[in-house]
Symmetry: D3
Subunit: 135 residues, 6 copies
């Protein structure tokens, strides 16, 4: 049910093969999930998207990988992105999110959805103490 | 610029005072931020909202407090909730989010916003391996 | 802080004057709120927008006017539309929404925001009994 | 296509059985729809979610039940929540929403979606008369 | 999986037949896509929706048809509207959007999604030079 | 009213100066708008964001610059991003969008918002002819 057709034999294009090989090496797994198979319709878009996801999500930075996946999934849920919600919750589990942490995650996301709507309804003014660029 | 008027002297209502006192005790601070001052227009809504936020965000659970605040902020950003974004980023900082972690958080939220739109455009089908309720 | 400049003397254009006169007659009030003053930058867009709002919101139909304003405000809150939230909550009050009903409205909107996020996270399949176009 | 697996025999857990029994009693029906069957994966989340939905939606308050379901559905549509849209429109029909009222509802939701986008594009300033917390 | 049942023989209603005939004439094609078949459940909603889509999208105006379809699709993606994303990308292709333009479109939509989230997180103040209604 | 404080003298950091210089050269203007002044709080985030915006929006590709700005603005409106809506409508005007085209743009965005909500309410199934990845 997609708006583009993925290429039948994506790795016949060496630019695609290079990206798929890097995905396999980075993850230590032969599995290539659908987002990359579909993005292969445009090798430069594929390469740029993977380069960003690798830099942000698969490179050691201040936040631990599991936490980054949960933040990613939280945004995806609020944007009603079906694929992203599934893939980043799966990634969070693969990176160590426990069942208790996932249930906690659902509670936080649900409460945020609730108060976001309540405050967008009441439109409470921001406390000056929260503002970081005041003169 | 709100859609309701907050009460002038909210703590003259004992139900409001009880909530404000519990907020102060829970946080170890005298400061009551605007969301609670405005919600005081309806003491039962105030009490129910605080009870939920306290249970989800201020009670020890599997996820650490700082991480819960970042997840909460991520949802709030995607929903364009001005107050919630400010208050939960401030809470994350108060609970230990470093400057490096905040920059990391912005990168993850931005990349999620990007791929959410890319995948909502392409509408890539979910890989069966991600689905948890298959027969 | 708008992206267009409203005309200084909108009613010097007879097409604008005709719409403003109809707004005044329909509402029984001389007050013209900002949305119409700004839309006057394009008289045909102004006329088409007012014609639709009048037909949907100011013409007797199955739902009572107060309920229609609350439904309109609910959508506006979820879309984080500042102007629309303010104007349609004001309209709901003008059409009889009591303080108790407004508090009720906030509770329903908040709970909807909560479960929307919870179910967009869990992605529960729709029960067949809810589907109206099944073969 | 969910992100969690619902328990096979949910009512073997007495906490789940207590919630399901209360749902049946409250609704006067044996039918338990999927949201509750899936939420049974975490009995405390199930109990808390049902307690809130029961208090807000199934307890007599100022707004009539049918109107509350329409407000709930309006938020769900704007948030693109598939399950919530189906279940709350079904609930509105079960609580008396006529075919004429449903068509009216669609008209209001569509017009709100239209003007929300128009005003988020033009970014019209809020009329001071609509603001309730001005000094 | 819809919330209404489309009529079995929609063109037996002369109001529906008139709209379908106009759709066929306007497009020079016998194909009637699902949105119109479903909206036929309410002939006046069908007629009003088609009249607006025809006036905005199928009538020559300042912007070329292909560009209007891309703008329409961009909004639909951000709103996670499955049907609208598919139908307006198909319409853009039918009106001349090339494969290169579609890939470009995806890049722009993805970058907009990214910076929208980054700026909704940082909440950068609007430069006065961008504001059109300043005094 | 931002969640970070922009650096007072951003160009004292040579990484920031290099980006600002490239912005000035690319645009042929000395003006640096707020988004870049604020992003200077993290020079690597600034450099990566500018590199992407430059590649997607300021490099000749299949779509003309004016059209890309309108697509960008359309997404920004749907996401209720205040800064992005202002800055990309200003950019579209700077790149040749006429007043007639801007009015057209508003009409298309408004109609898309309307039918997005109508179809997210009715949940019409996608016509198979629109789907590009069917077997």
């Amino acid at each position: 049910m997609a708006t583009i057709a993925p290429p039948k034999d994506p790795e016949s294009d060496p630019r695609v093969k290079a990206v798929f090989d890097d995905i396999r090496t980075t993850r230590g797994s032969d599995f290539i999930n659908n987002v990359w198979r579909y993005l292969a319709f445009d090798p430069s878009l594929l390469a740029a998207t993977w380069a960003e996801v690798k830099a942000v999500m698969a490179t050691p930075t201040a936040l631990e990988p599991k936490v980054k996946e949960m933040i990613y999934a939280a945004v995806s849920i609020a944007n009603s992105c079906d694929y992203c919600t599934h893939s980043h919750l799966a990634a969070a589990r693969a990176k160590g999110m426990s069942a208790e942490e996932q249930a906690d995650f659902f509670r936080v996301v649900a409460s945020a959805g609730k108060t976001n709507h309540l405050l967008n309804a009441i439109r409470v003014p921001v406390d000056p103490v929260f503002v970081m660029d005041k003169e």
